[in-house]
């Protein structure tokens, strides 16, 4: 009996202790309504890093790009590259660029931002021991040096996509990073951007406040909280209960739910992300035959997929890229649904009744995969879905033996709005993703990769897309439209880069 009583006492004591501890763990931002310029944003996952030199997934990006300034920006309406930290830039020779860095820009600790900081930001990404995920994006750069307000970048070869990638380069404070070290900087990032880091609950939320000494126009929102809320249903509940004012990465079905609520609005933007099927043309069994690939491309009811399953939040495409990408082949017709033709192609190829394996991972919407399976089966092939977790999926489809099956479902975005970042890695002979090989295509994209003249590049890509359209190593299913839910008064215009600059937003 004494035992039970002491157990109970112990439990009460522990409960009291944890409650006290709980109060100690900073009860953040309890004002849930968006009063007084406070914005709360629900994202799907917590930023993998707050150091902008490391990860560049959408959720990390959305947070740290508000803390730092980027070298260049893309105008959200014209989609053109415009000055930001670099006020102007010139190309001295095919491989040398100089940038003039805006003067008077200060980091949050008051120290001035110079070209040396910009050069350092590039150098650390290129440093193999830093193991930046973005290393491959900047691999064309041979060196970056800064003196005063002048940044000089030399490339290994004439690189047409350099400026594109520099729009994603956030400039970090060299002296501060070197003083505190990379790990501490990642925990407590400090930049020159419109907002500065206040606090975080790892795995849950990051709080930023307006940086009043920022060089740009003073943002109207004074505080912003980014929260990681993985379940879509919970993000919507947060919008409905007023806990959050913006929720990102909604599904088309949940968008309809928001439309039914008069306090909320749906915001959208087409993205450069494409849902696609890629075929194994080397070791794929039936799909080694181009007619089988054509038949599969004709078996898919694109309009129904977009209209019914995606609720209209998607756009048809004619290739693996989107109209946002440089080199998009405007002359090609969209992929079209033609089951009768598909059946006769399969008949002619002698492939009717054969089984094809479709590889996918839980990272991709299982409904689309099953809808495609049903469409392909309707014209006479048997489709076996092989759903494995992302690590296994990559291991399989990137294996040099090409024995991963016949069809794979995936989504592609290079965050660069350039065909070089799409068709080169997907289909050039010997890249990790490619189970296709055509010397003519390789030659065209190799040339386009090192040509600076954009008109020449456009025509090279047009020819390359022509080859792909004939060989059909893959099918673009649709361009994905990003869906956001927001409180009625929020003024926010999502852009194709999904850049999420809070400084451009206003609360009602």
């Amino acid at each position: 009996m004494r035992l039970l009583r002491s157990m109970a006492l112990g439990a009460v004591a522990i409960a009291a202790a944890t409650t006290l501890a709980a109060c100690g763990i900073q009860p953040t931002n309890t004002s849930s309504s968006g009063n007084n310029g406070t914005l709360t944003v629900d994202m799907a996952s917590y930023p993998a890093s707050l150091d902008p030199g490391l990860q560049y997934d959408t959720d990390s990006y959305s947070v740290y790009r508000n803390i730092f300034d980027q070298l260049l920006h893309r105008d959200s309406t014209t989609n053109k590259i415009v000055p930001w930290l670099a006020t102007k830039w010139t190309q001295n020779d095919p491989t040398t660029w100089t940038f003039t860095i805006r003067s008077g820009v200060k980091f949050a600790d008051g120290s001035p931002l110079t070209a040396a900081d910009a050069a350092f930001s590039i150098q650390r990404i290129l440093d193999p021991s830093f193991a930046s995920q973005q290393n491959a994006n900047f691999s064309a750069i041979a060196s970056a040096t800064g003196s005063g307000q002048t940044l000089t970048v030399k490339t290994k070869y004439p690189s047409p996509t350099l400026l594109t990638y520099l729009t994603t380069l956030s400039v970090v404070p060299m002296a501060y990073v070197q003083k505190v070290g990379n790990a501490a900087f990642n925990l407590k990032p400090m930049g020159s951007g419109p907002y500065s880091f206040v606090s975080d609950i790892p795995g849950s939320q990051v709080d930023l406040k307006r940086n009043d000494s920022w060089w740009g126009t003073k943002p109207s929102i004074s505080q912003v909280t980014f929260r990681a809320v993985p379940a879509v249903a919970s993000r919507i509940a947060d919008l409905e209960s007023g806990k959050a004012q913006i929720a990102t990465e909604l599904t088309s079905d949940s968008a309809n739910q928001i439309k039914g609520n008069s306090n909320l609005q749906v915001l959208t933007s087409p993205t450069e992300r494409v849902s696609y099927l890629a075929f194994n043309t080397i070791n794929g069994g039936p799909t080694n035959n181009v007619n089988v690939r054509k038949a599969i491309s004709m078996s898919i009811d694109y309009k129904s997929l977009i209209g019914n399953l995606e609720g209209g939040y998607a756009k048809q495409v004619n290739s693996m890229s989107t109209p946002l990408d440089l080199g998009y082949p405007t002359n090609l017709p969209n992929f079209a649904y033609n089951p009768t033709e598909a059946k006769s192609l399969l008949q002619a190829a002698g492939a009717v009744g054969q089984t094809v394996v479709m590889a996918t991972s839980p990272s991709y919407d299982p409904q689309i995969v099953q809808a495609i399976q049903a469409d392909i089966q309707a014209v006479g092939l048997k489709v076996q879905i092989q759903n494995t977790d992302q690590a296994t999926y990559l291991e399989k489809v990137q294996s040099p033996t090409h024995d991963w099956g016949s069809i794979r479902f995936g989504q592609w975005s290079c965050s660069c709005e350039d065909s070089d970042g799409v068709v080169y890695p997907l289909f050039h002979t010997g890249t990790i993703w490619s189970s296709y090989s055509n010397p003519q295509f390789d030659n065209l994209v190799d040339q386009a990769r090192q040509t600076l003249n954009q008109t020449t590049r456009n025509s090279l890509y047009n020819q390359a897309y022509g080859v792909l359209n004939k060989d059909l190593p893959g099918v673009g299913l649709f361009q994905i439209v990003s869906i956001y839910g927001a409180a009625k008064g929020v003024q926010y215009k999502p852009d194709p880069q999904q850049s999420f600059f809070v400084a451009d937003m206003k609360l009602g």
């Binding site: 379940a231 879509v232 249903a233 919507i236 509940a237 599904t251 079905d253 949940s254 309809n256 739910q257 009811d301 129904s304 997929l305 019914n308 399953l309 991972s361 839980p362 299982p366 409904q367 995969v369 099953q370 809808a371 399976q373 049903a374 076996q384 879905i385 092989q386 759903n387 494995t388 977790d389 296994t392």
Partner: protein, 303 residues
């Protein structure tokens, strides 16, 4: 005697319900009104009693326009098979090891219990990933994976049961009288341990259905579009507020099963109850045990 008959009657209705579940699963193609995989995007997310092209979808359609009722009926096959197999394998292995550890003790008992300690601690998701990596995907491996995570629960329960039971007067007296050890385990210890294990097992059944779905998710379980209750539940997750019927009906099917199996478990428990057996058995042994109790010390600990 009459109590026993009453227990039998209480077990009858749940038994019938469980039998119906099994029969429906076996006869799924005959019972299901539609093709469980027949999708129609134009008819997606239709509510219960929806009618389309002259056919009626009693429990509505899912996100691909498939009939929810037919998928529940076909889903029973995978879900029942996996759940029953897992509970049997982990229960039998777990109880056997727990009894062994509690009875033999010594180094063998130590090894068993320490393995059980750490086996409990492997995160389920990690174990599942490792099982796919090492053994590959198949329905048998699903059972292996689930059983690997669940056996230590039974082991710890059985172990605790044996520890307590073996110190009871009648066991110690029987032992002292030099009875064969395994005979005691089978005759006296196991009946003391089993009722609790059965209670846990009947609860585990429902959990295993849900667990199976998380395995499909990483490619270890059944692959889409093959239906299972678990995968229907997790698919319905994002539709709880908009298309309630997606998760509700498979949930109800599962609830019905869990309820029936638990009530059935109660009936089984009553039959296994050692005191009932004692009551029903010859008075001679009762008297013998009573005598032993007084000799060696009463069965009841000093409260």
């Amino acid at each position: 005697m009459s109590a026993k008959r009453k227990a039998d009657r209480r077990g009858l209705i749940p038994l019938i319900v469980v039998a119906v579940y099994v029969l429906v699963a076996i006869a799924a193609p005959l019972v299901a009104p539609h093709d469980p995989n027949g999708s129609d995007l134009a008819a997606r997310l239709a509510g219960p009693f929806a009618e389309r092209d002259g056919s009626r979808f009693l429990l509505g359609t899912d996100g691909l326009g498939r009939d929810v009722l037919s998928r529940i009926i076909f889903g029973a096959r995978v879900s029942l098979t996996v759940a029953v197999a897992t509970v049997l394998v982990s229960g039998v292995v777990g109880v056997a090891l727990g009894v062994l550890a509690g009875w033999r003790r010594g180094w063998l008992g130590t090894v068993i219990m320490r393995i059980a300690d750490i086996a409990l601690s492997v995160p389920f998701f990690l174990l599942a990933i490792l099982v796919v990596a090492v053994l590959g995907p198949s329905l048998v491996n699903v059972v292996i994976c689930l059983a690997l995570t669940r056996w230590p629960r039974y082991t710890r329960i059985a172990y605790a049961g044996v520890l307590e039971t073996r110190e009871r007067g009648f066991i110690r007296s029987t032992t002292a009288l030099g009875a064969n050890g395994w005979w005691i385990v089978l005759r006296h210890v196991l009946p003391e341990v089993l009722p609790l294990a059965v209670v846990v097992a009947t609860l585990e059944l429902g959990l295993m259905v849900v667990f199976e779905a998380s395995l499909s998710f990483i490619g270890l379980g059944v692959q889409p579009p093959t239906p299972s209750w678990g995968s229907m539940l997790s698919d319905g997750q994002q539709y709880v507020a908009t298309a309630w019927w997606l998760a509700t009906f498979p949930g109800l099917a599962l609830f019905g099963l869990v309820l029936a199996v638990n009530l059935l478990g109660d009936a089984v428990r009553d039959r296994l109850d050692p005191t009932r057996k004692v009551a029903a058995s010859s008075k001679r042994r009762r008297r013998k045990e009573a005598v032993l109790d007084t000799v060696i010390g009463t069965e009841q600990p000093n409260a």
